[in-house]
Symmetry: C2
Subunit: 319 residues, 2 copies
Amino acid sequence: MKEYVVGIDIGGTNSVFGFVDNKGNCIHKDSIETQLFTNPVEFVATISEKIQKQLVNLPDTIIKGIGIGAPNGNFYNGTIEFAPNLKWKGIVNLTKMFIKHFHTDVLLTNDANAAAIGEMIYGNAKGMKDFILITLGTGVGSGIVVNGKMVYGHDGFAGEIGHVIVYPEGRMCGCGRKGCLEAYCSAKGIKKTYLNFVSGEGKTNEVPEADITPHYIYEKAKLGDALALKTYEYTGNILGLALANSVAYTSPEAIFLFGGIANAGEMLFEPIRKSFEDNLLNIYKDKIKILPSRLKENDAAILGAASLIWNKISNESEK
Amino acid sequence: MKEYVVGIDIGGTNSVFGFVDNKGNCIHKDSIETQLFTNPVEFVATISEKIQKQLVNLPDTIIKGIGIGAPNGNFYNGTIEFAPNLKWKGIVNLTKMFIKHFHTDVLLTNDANAAAIGEMIYGNAKGMKDFILITLGTGVGSGIVVNGKMVYGHDGFAGEIGHVIVYPEGRMCGCGRKGCLEAYCSAKGIKKTYLNFVSGEGKTNEVPEADITPHYIYEKAKLGDALALKTYEYTGNILGLALANSVAYTSPEAIFLFGGIANAGEMLFEPIRKSFEDNLLNIYKDKIKILPSRLKENDAAILGAASLIWNKISNESEK
C-alpha cells in the first residue's frame, strides 16, 4: 500500500497541490485560482473537490495527512492571520475547514517555514540539526531550525529575518518601517537598487520600468552590464551582513537560499560569501556554509507543505 | 537526605562557588582568585580542595553534579575556548579536570547561558518556553531559550546578541568589528556615550575618567543631570532597536535584562520599551514583555551555573 501526503501551497494568485511520498516524489499536481475566492470556505470546498477527484486515480493509497504552506500561516493555531496578499481578511482557520472535508491530520505554516522543513526532509539540509533557510522572492522570508526542530516561537510567528532592520533609518520597507532586509533583497528591492544605479549615472532604462525584474537584471549582468553586476554586488553585500548577524542568534551549520533570485548563482553567492565572512564574529569564521536550496523548483512549494506531515511522522517514530 | 549541586562561576578576577538546592537556596559560598593561576590544572585542584573542605560540613548530602558558568564556555565540549579575560590560553577541557576530582556529572556553558537557565529554573522565566536573557556588564551577552531548551547552535556558541551589528560602520567594538550592540550598551559603551555627550557640550568631567562608571552615571541621572539622563535614553534607544530585531528570530514571550546596568530600573527600561515597540514588526507589537531578571544578585552567577545540572535532571524526569 503506497502512502502519500497532500501538499498544498497557497499563493495570492494561484494555489497548487500534489501528492507527495516520503522520498519527495510529487504526482497528480493540480491548481486553482486563489484570487477567484472571496470566501475561504468556498475556496476549501473547491480545492477539496479537486483533491477528491485525484484520489479516485489513487485507489490503493493511504493519505497520511495534509500539509499547507500559506502566507502568514500560524502553525500553532492552524490559521492564516491577516495575510496582506489574500482576499480573506482577519483570522481564517483553514486547518479546521480541511479537517471537515478529509478527517485527517492537517498542519499549516508559512511558506518559508514549509520550505525549510522541505529542505530538511528532502533537500540539502538532510541530517542537519541547525540551519536557516532564506526565501528570496516577492518578499524575504525565513525558516530557522534549531536542534532539528522548526522554531515557531511563543506566538507561532518566529523567523521573520526579512524584517530585521539592517540599516536603521534606511530604505522604506513595505511593512511601514525603514531599513529592513526585505527592502533591499526582495525582487522589488533589487529592482530599486538597479533603478537607483541607472538614474545615479544619469542614464535611462532600455525597457519599460514594469519589465525590469531580477531576471532581467540577471540577464544584463551575464552580458557584462556594469550596473547590473553592481546591483548583485550591492545586494550580496547586504545579504552577507544580515546573514552574519543571524549567525549570532542560532549559530547554524549552514544557511540556504531559496527562490528564483537565488538562481543567479555565483553572481549573487560570491559577494554574499565575502560580505558574510567579513562581517562574522571571529568564533564563527570559516565554518558556516552558504548554499542554494536543492528542492526541485517546480515542486518546491508543494514538497515543503507536504514535509510538515512527513516531519511529524518522523518525529513521532523517534519517540 | 538533602540534595545539592555545586555551582561554580569562573570570572577573570575571581571564581566563586556554592551549594545550591533545587529551590535556589545557596549555602557555603567561597571563592578563589582566578588570576593567580596560569595553569588550569592547578586552578581546578585548588578550587576542588576548597569544595571538598566544605563537603565535610555537609555529611548527609548528595551532590547531584557540578555546573560551571565560564567565559567562552562551550556546552557541547565542556571546554573554555580562547577566553580573552583568562590566563589559560587555547582550548581548556575544564569539565574533564573536574570529573577527575569528583566523578560526578559536570556541565559547563558561558555565563549568559547559565544566567538564562537560572532565570528559567529559579527566576522570572519559570514556566516560559521561549525567552531571551541579555546580560549587561563588562560585555553584553545573551542566552536564548526556544521551546524550553537553551539554544547552543551547531558549534555550542549560539546567542552572541552583543555582537550583532546594529549600526553598520558604527562605533568600534572590542571584537575588532564596528557597530556591535556591545560597543554601545556594555559598561564601556555607556561610559563612552556619556563622555561623548560631555565633550560634545564643551564641558569637562567632575571626576577622573577612571571613576566614571555606569553606577556613577546612574547616580548623576537620579540627581537630574541632563547628560546622564541623555546617556540612559541613548542606550535604551539602541537596546530597544536591537531587541526588536531579536524578536524576528525566535519570537519570545519575554526578554530579561540581567546584570548591574539593568538595575538602573525605569531610567533604562522606559526608553528601551518605547524604542522596542517603535521598532517592532506589526505582528509582534504589544505582546512581548521586557523584564528585569529576578535572580538574587549576589548569588545569581552561582545559581545560574548550578541550574545547568538541575535543568538536566528536570529534563530527564520528563522523559
